[in-house]
């Protein structure tokens, strides 16, 4: 029987993630040093894991309120106020979600009418465009460039804008480029947003991993709080990817709309993860800072080495990704990544997995040990000098 005919058209048309194909190849190979992993190499700090064990022991095995445990929402608003300088009411301006992924999904579902246009900068996280498509919206990619260290500029936004644009998705610092915006750049973006009457979904999952300068949240700029849904989570800063726990903060009406979608689909985030998240916010800061320091040193190392090798790479101000150009090889990013994998068993992700604007670049994640980074870059060196000969 042709079971495929039951699949919805817009899902049939949805392309498979480019990362998926690459994963299939890497998974079959042995002794690969992978710089293709978009998550911390650290396990979740023990005190956080232990808090989850304790929660289980106490019988915390039930549903929570749809919005999430009030203790967690209080801890979140306190943290957001302290770190991002934005204040939200824990009662009705915060919703706890199953990772930022769910927060984005329910935001799109709550906000996008069929045919609404959603702007996002590209290269970008793999799920933005498909998530928009799944809600029958139209994705409008806005290119970012190596010459700007992959910061989003108001000029690029203005050039990409079309009538019908309603939302703008920001991801600063950005996966996969590590690019981010300074205050002046954000002010220009804010001006554009007001001018075009857009609502912003600001995914700031990498914000704690900002290595120099301040991380500025768009929502903290004058007039932007009511135009922004602030999305954040625990995965990167607290090394909690597998817990699937994140949150959204924003004006009560918008959170309420998201909550409707959330309550009919997810009901609530896992209570165990919520309990762990409370511990992370209350006592996780030192551990988080220690991890950031290590990422910082690793970043300095890998970016220096990549440039020595000839893989021109800007200094990513945040995240744990380096995004070097492979121009020196004279190859496409896909051929380069495949060749490197086959010849030297080092996995990097072709930039086009993150959208057409990633052409000519690869993403190398430096959330791995010093030894592995030294070995991986030595292998890349050998590969690139072999190509030059």
């Amino acid at each position: 029987m042709d079971t495929k005919r039951f699949i919805a058209r817009h899902v049939v048309d949805l392309p498979k993630s480019g990362i998926r194909d690459f994963f299939e190849i890497v998974a079959k190979m042995k002794d690969v040093i992978s710089l293709g992993i978009g998550e911390p190499d650290f396990d979740t700090p023990w005190h956080i894991r232990e808090a989850a064990i304790y929660a289980l022991e106490k019988g915390k095995t039930h549903y929570t309120s749809n919005l999430g445990l009030i203790e967690l929402r209080r801890a979140i608003t306190k943290y957001v106020e302290k770190v991002f300088k934005i204040s939200y009411r824990p009662e009705d301006e915060v919703i706890v979600t199953v990772g930022v992924s769910e927060a984005l999904d329910i935001a799109f579902r709550a906000l996008v009418n069929p045919g609404d246009k959603v702007m996002f900068h590209q290269p970008c996280y793999v799920s933005y465009h498909p998530s928009v498509t799944l809600t029958h919206g139209i994705g409008v990619p806005v290119p970012t460039y190596a010459k700007d260290n992959f910061a989003l500029t108001a000029e690029a936004l203005a050039a990409a804008w079309q009538p019908g644009c309603k939302l703008l998705v920001l991801n600063l610092p950005c996966n996969p480029t590590g690019g981010t915006c300074n205050r002046a750049q954000l002010e220009a973006i804010a001006k554009f947003v007001v001018e075009k009457d857009l609502l912003v979904l600001s995914d700031e999952i990498y914000s704690e991993l900002t290595f120099e300068g301040e991380h500025v949240s768009l929502a903290s700029l004058p007039g932007m709080r009511e135009r922004t849904i602030f999305l954040h989570g625990f995965s990167k800063a607290f090394a909690m990817t597998g817990w699937r726990i994140g949150y959204a903060c924003g004006p009560a009406d918008l959170i309420e709309a998201m909550m409707k979608v959330h309550q009919y689909s997810m009901m609530c985030a896992s209570i165990i993860s919520q309990e762990a998240a409370i511990e992370a916010l209350l006592r996780g800061e030192d551990g988080m800072k220690a991890m950031r320091e290590q990422y910082h040193r690793r970043r300095d190392f890998i970016v220096r080495r990549l440039n020595e090798i000839g893989l021109k790479c800007h200094l990513p101000r945040g995240s744990f990704y380096a995004f070097p150009s492979v121009a020196v090889s004279g190859m496409s990013e896909k051929d380069f990544a495949l060749g490197l994998l086959q010849a030297e068993r080092v996995a990097v992700v072709p930039g086009t997995a993150f959208g057409a604007n990633g052409a000519g670049f690869v993403r190398a994640c430096f959330a791995t040990s010093y030894e592995q980074l030294i070995e991986a870059t030595d292998r890349m060196d050998r590969y690139v000098s072999g190509l030059r000969r």
Binding site: F23, I37, E293, F301, R305, Y370
Partner: protein
């Protein structure tokens, strides 16, 4: 407080050798060595020692923790006696403690007899040592930050994720 980056890397890098440390920090190996020399000179970095699993046959040793009460002296307090005790090769570590006793002494020996005779013949006969209470260690679960006998299972981390 800004910590010396070489010192930081010593702590977090685990088993990096000076050549690898040089690579990570973008310095020459010579510069790393002179940094290490400086740290040694300042008595911050004292030296390298292997962390061994003493329950394994080839590294086997008997260890005891000894609570020692001593008489403080006018002028020197506990220092002279503590230093004297510390100089024995059998003594791995020695700390001045608050509470019910004065010194906590970690002793290492090839056999129970050797540790026992160190305590009875050397330690307790030193003038000024008032009493000793010796506790033999039965099993180690964590040594200098390394978990013992915990099988590090593959955590199933995927090789490529977005």
């Amino acid at each position: 407080m800004l910590m010396n980056p070489v010192l930081k890397l010593l702590i977090e890098g685990g088993s990096l050798n000076p050549a690898q440390m040089a690579q990570v920090l973008g310095l020459t190996e010579q510069e790393i060595n002179s940094h290490l020399e400086q740290l040694k000179k300042e008595k911050i970095f004292l030296g390298w020692r292997p962390v061994l699993n003493l329950s394994k046959e080839s590294a086997a040793a008997v260890r005891a923790v000894i609570e020692v009460k001593i008489t403080p002296e006018r002028g020197g307090g506990f220092n002279r006696l503590a230093e004297r005790i510390s100089r024995f090769d059998e003594v791995e570590s020695c700390y001045l403690m608050s509470g019910g006793y004065d010194l906590l002494v970690f002793v290492n020996g090839e056999s129970l007899q050797k540790v026992a005779s160190f305590v009875s013949e050397k330690l307790s006969t030193i003038e000024g040592v008032l009493s000793t209470a010796t506790h033999f260690m039965l099993r180690s679960y964590k040594e200098q930050g390394y978990l013992m006998d915990v099988v590090q299972e593959d955590n199933g981390r995927l090789k490529v994720v977005p």
